[in-house]
Symmetry: C2
Subunit: 319 residues, 2 copies
């Protein structure tokens, strides 16, 4: 029998999971070539704009294969609908039998994506940022910051968002979470005053220019996951001391590095894979004045890892 799990059940199971070490181990497995993934299945919609991604794969020798489906329709926000939807499918690696459907509505993607930001910060962020800067005011703009809290004492936020209403909500929400939050009018003001910067927008035009970036800054760019989306001018990557990707394969076809490499700003052999950095931390930040950039487009192995952990906390059927 196939188990169908509700979002409530999944949230309860998530409460018992620390996603950061789980996602970190996933990146290592990926860089060690122990993960088989299919190319990302991508559907782009024009009217209204949206995208739908299917990520699937399995860890060699494990029990399950995981297929994760998530949609992003950012105009939904103005219509009172959540921008993200989706679910996760679990099938046996030994029989192909459908074992579980996790009606997570994109929640597992949210968590594994934010956890990747925290993993990145462990190896790339400056030691004592006085301000965390955020572009965007959606789910990831919140979760990425909250996921940093256990490892980073900074509670000062600067936020910029395209839309007033969501920026206001963001300020209120994060203040309730104990952060000092200031909203600024331009991405430039964020970049000039923050040392740890998270870009979490669906922008298709670069928001950050290289001239604004101070020595010692780290930027995690996680908003761009298609060929169209872009948050950083390619010169930002060209000027960085260290550029890290979640996947050397995937970054050639989507995200910030794709733009920077295809426009000739960046040579791919300068890019380091996150799993390699985790295994050999000297590939990460070694001096406080370095500029570091991580470009995350999201990997199936993150879905596999978080699902594996969550399944252990869910009521067992016939697993």
């Amino acid at each position: 029998m196939t188990a169908v799990y509700t979002l409530d059940q999944i949230q309860a199971a998530l409460a018992g999971v620390d996603p950061i070490p789980i996602i970190e181990a996933g990146f290592v497995a990926y860089s060690q070539k122990r993960v088989v993934v299919a190319p990302v299945g991508e559907l782009i919609f024009d009217n209204p704009p949206g995208d739908l991604h299917v990520k699937s794969g399995y860890v060699l020798g494990a029990e399950n294969a995981v297929i994760k489906i998530v949609s992003g329709f950012y105009d939904n926000v103005g219509r009172g609908l959540p921008p993200i939807s989706g679910l996760v499918i679990v099938m046996s690696q030994k029989t192909g039998v459908l074992k579980a459907v996790l009606m997570d509505n994109g929640r597992l993607t949210d968590v594994r994506t934010a956890a990747a930001g925290a993993v990145v910060a462990r190896y790339l962020a400056p030691q004592r940022p006085s301000t965390i800067g955020v572009l965007g005011a959606g789910v990831q703009a919140r979760l990425q910051v909250l996921m940093l809290a256990p490892q980073c004492p900074c509670r000062n936020l600067l936020v910029w968002s395209r839309t007033d209403a969501s920026a206001e909500r963001y300020v209120n929400d994060m203040r309730q979470r104990g952060y000092t939050v200031e909203r600024v009018a331009t991405p430039r003001q964020v970049v000039e005053h923050a040392q740890l910067i998270i870009t979490a927008t669906p922008s298709t035009k670069p928001l950050i220019e290289a001239d604004w970036v101070e020595p010692g800054t780290h930027i995690t760019a996680m908003g761009s996951d298609t060929t169209d989306k872009q948050e950083l001018c390619s010169s930002v990557l060209a000027g960085a001391d260290i550029v890290v990707t979640d996947s050397l394969t995937q970054c050639t076809s989507r995200g910030e590095i794709f733009h920077a490499v295809s426009s000739g700003h960046l040579s791919l052999d300068r890019v380091r894979e996150l799993g390699q950095v985790i295994m050999q931390p000297t590939l990460g930040r070694t001096r406080q004045d370095q500029v570091t950039v991580a470009d995350l487009t999201g990997l199936a192995v993150q879905d596999i890892a978080i699902v594996d952990a969550v399944l252990r906390g869910l009521p067992n059927t016939d697993r």
Copy 2:
């Protein structure tokens, strides 16, 4: 709310659907470029051997996007498990919201795949075959034949299968369905005596040689849908008067035509797309002595079309 539909509900809805015209219209929409599809997501498993395919897409201007997941683990049969598993996901094209999960366990794939064979036969099969030949003894070996019944009066079957037990079951099952069935020891005996041939095996080695094929024969090769699987010697395609594919794009990377083209036996410009043949039937069989081959690897548009029809027969939630 997302509706989760059981196999029983889906079967009940299928009973009210004639899939052949629906799938035919789907192929036309595809060849008219009215369908957006993602590249096939494919995971291959080695131990035990199996594959998992994700096909997704949408018809421009329609309501939904469809993601179909199906696994094939052919060694399951010997272990008392079904070789096929899977489900179908329906999301709104306008909001990305997850609308329905169809726990069809591969049933919709079975039906839309068999219906494609019937569509092919309308345009390519000889007028009055005296014998239908089948390689394989699984679900498609049955369904492809049964789906032909309304349009083809022939009830004489020749069947070959690798494994005795499944061949015996096939003979019994099809006799109960009113067919005269003879089991033969080699693929060659099938090919030499049948005028309408269906290959429905997961073979990775060619089973049919060009010399065996008589004038006037039609072959629907539907078993091969990866780069590894192959049922026909490439010389069979080279020697055919007409070669039809479901997708000119997809046939360059998987299936019989992929093998024939990449080995230099067949020029891609000789291959006709099924939707084009439907729109212009003179691209199909025009003489009874022609040898015709159709290579079907399965398209997302078939999933979209059958799901659309089935959804109309399912209890409505908030669609």
